[in-house]
């Protein structure tokens, strides 16, 4: 991809341009669009860990929770003090939201570091379970923090998330992940995925690569959590349980592990699918899980993976 920075600038401009017209778009489509965007960020960031680096993590929702709670805490508790009683100008609110998203992302990244350092020594099924365990522990901790609403969740989060912010973070996450894996440094992720022993033999510090992938993935999961919180305006610990993690994992698998474009398409498809299946309301989740099984049986390399199949795990 030549001159990726130009693509990023172009994407940001498009996001800004689109947000100018957001009044004229049907609110339903806008809502679905933002939901899609948040899922794309989650799936693309998890793809760095599960797809490119080949480390199966089942705890992505946990990092999303950390980001969602921390950024919501910034806008709910610090926001009124910073902006004053009148709520501040749009620009001030934007700056606050930006700060909140960065804070959410960094705290999630820190959580990723704490989780990643001990657990990335494990492989395969065991790694999946430990990350699942950590994700659930994070959720239970939030359930017990009374300041953040406990089991009832945190309400009254300002609705700062707009289509501009979602698109901006989507383009940023796709940009970072693509540039990273196509850089010289990033070849290490792919090498770790392809053959860990061989990578170590040629002198790569595979543990370090795994942790870096994990921390970056957690960072974007955190920002996605921040966007989610300021989009739904209320967050509860149960919203970040392991079904959410599985939902993200399914997007990565369907898209084809280590295939960013495919993962984006899968995120779009899987967010739209429940909406499209709404007419058959109660059967839609049955159909969804059934399709998942059938897909794994007939097209295990992922729906959108047209490249040479890498079946190694």
């Amino acid at each position: 991809m030549p001159r990726p920075h130009l693509y990023l600038v172009a994407a940001l401009l498009v996001a800004f341009g689109l947000s100018r017209f957001s009044d004229q778009i049907d609110p339903y489509f806008l809502d679905v669009g933002m939901g899609i965007g948040i899922n794309i960020i989650l799936a693309v960031s998890l793809n760095l860990v599960n797809g490119y680096t080949g480390q199966f993590s089942l705890g992505h929702a946990g990092f999303m929770a950390v980001g969602a709670y921390l950024s919501a805490a910034v806008t709910v508790f610090l926001g009124p003090k910073i902006l004053g009683a009148d709520g501040g100008t749009a620009l001030q609110q934007g700056a606050l939201f930006f700060g909140a998203l960065v804070a959410g992302g960094l705290s999630a990244a820190f959580a990723g570091l704490l989780v990643g350092v001990p657990s990335l020594r494990l492989k395969g099924d065991y790694l999946a379970l430990v990350t699942l365990g950590f994700g659930e522990i994070i959720r239970v901790i939030f359930q017990n923090v009374e300041v953040l609403g406990g089991a009832l969740g945190l309400n009254g989060i300002p609705a700062y998330t707009s289509i501009f912010w979602v698109l901006a973070v989507v383009s940023l996450s796709v940009f970072v992940v693509l540039c990273l894996v196509h850089s010289t440094y990033g070849r290490g992720f792919l090498a770790t995925h392809d053959d860990e022993i061989a990578s170590e033999a040629v002198g790569l510090n595979t543990t370090r690569y795994k942790i870096v992938a994990f921390v970056i993935g957690a960072f974007f999961a955190g920002t996605a959590g921040g966007l989610y919180g300021h989009f739904k305006m209320t967050i509860t610990p149960t919203g970040f349980d392991f079904t959410k993690s599985i939902e993200i994992v399914v997007m990565v698998i369907l898209g084809g592990m280590g295939n960013t474009i495919g993962v984006i398409l899968a995120a779009i498809l899987l967010t739209l699918l429940p909406e499209l299946l709404r007419p058959i309301a109660e059967y839609r989740m049955v159909l969804y899980s059934f399709l998942l099984i059938v897909l794994m049986l007939v097209r295990p390399q992922g729906l959108f993976n047209f490249k040479f199949v890498r079946t190694k795990t």
Partner: protein, 296 residues
Amino acid sequence: MAEFLQQLLNGLSLGAIYALIALGYTMVYGVLRFINFAHSDVFMVGAFIGYYAGKLVPEGTIWGGLLVLAIAMAGCAILGMTIERLAYRPLRGAATLNVLITAIGVSLLLEYSGQVFFGAAPRTFPAVFPSANFSVGGLVISSNQIVVIVVATLLMIALEFIVHRTKIGTAMRAVSLNPKAAQLVGINNDVVISFTFGLGSALAAAGGILYALNYPSIEPLMGVMPGLKAFVAAVLGGIGNIPGAALGGLILGVVETFVNGSQWSTYKDAIAFAILIAILLFRPAGLLGKFTVEKV
């Protein structure tokens, strides 16, 4: 002291249920080396079969209760074998991740189908066994706890017999040790795997009924948490190791009950995962598992 013993008793009866579910995970892992995520939902289906069968038999009789138990175990054994045949067998030899995702898919399918067919609202499980409370020296023992402990013990003895004293059990151990070599000596791996699924699912169904007797509110998502915890129990004892799963289940049940009785009760769901993480970091082979060196 009486309170300690009471908690220990409650913990053991919860642990016995975890142990029954954990046995299914550990046996399947033994022969196929994968985590059968759908196992926790087979447990749920077992409880629901028990619910419907319980309406047909007279309430509060031992024979009625045992009949319900047998129907649920048979039903789930068939369900387990069907799942294996349709979803897992075509993926034999595929990448671990694909099998794992399929298992998650089967789990979701059972949960959502359960919500459609059984309804999402919780239901009260009928008291199929006679219920009474006995007090022995300050301890309150409910008849359900006795049923749980007796049934679980008998089933584990039966399992031990099947695995160590029968032909099919020997075949199971052979497949678990080395599938290719087992095939070479004339074992039909598919039959053995199918049998393992049936056996594990029957135990899960028994666990489901016993769980529903003690916590008599059943709903389609009831299997998720006990299932995860039973899996932790299997890892704790050493996955693939049958006595280990029983030991792990008992330990987990007791620890959880004590945490639940302490001031940290709101963290009771986290304690299982904390144990899981600790055991995987410090002794990944589990308490009774044998550590194998990875060959390069």
